[in-house]
Amino acid sequence: MTVAIHHEDFDPWALLREAEQAIPAEARGAASVFVGRMRDFNEDDAVTGLFLEHYPGMTEQELERIVEAARARWPLLGVHVAHRVGEVSPGDALVLVATWSAHRGAARDACSEILERLKHEAPFWKRERLADGSSRWVERNTPA
């Protein structure tokens, strides 16, 4: 069960292969994964970059609390949550949520719940840089 804040671009698929090693091969069953990357558009303006701010200490605690709540609700064999902070370029990975369970329904539902709670509760803030050189704080999260 790992929560990680990344200050540089990370490779989600390499992280997943590594995270899976921590689960006994014969117990892996079902893995459900979400990977969110920075898009180059938002609300119709061209977004050329993103700055992601977090609250060191509290952010990690909130993510761990969200993961613990999911573990209490579903029979999970493994969870990996990774979130990028700092200056982000289009195409970079922003967030990774992965859950392993013996059952596909549990893996899928836990992954979805962790992602939604992360988006609505975890202390991260986005500032977008636009093509015209200006920047703006994102005021609300994207709907699912």
């Binding site: 609250y55 992602l115 992360l118 975890a122 803030w125 704080w137 005021e139």
Partner: protein
Amino acid sequence: MAVKVLYFARLREELGREGDQPELPGDEVTVAGLWEYLHGEPPPPRLMSAVNQHRAGLDAPVRDGDEVAFFPPVTGG
């Protein structure tokens, strides 16, 4: 009482600083009272807050040595 105050995101930029280190009279204040002490007006709408890195409402108590954070709604993921 001495309190460590942190600001994040748009709030940090608008206030032009990352935090404050106020010394307040008394030994307890609410989160809203701390904001008003620092900024001379009630907390703005949609202000979020945390005490000692746990989410706390505007009426939560703040005591000597606490770390209080103010921030706008979160937009991660």
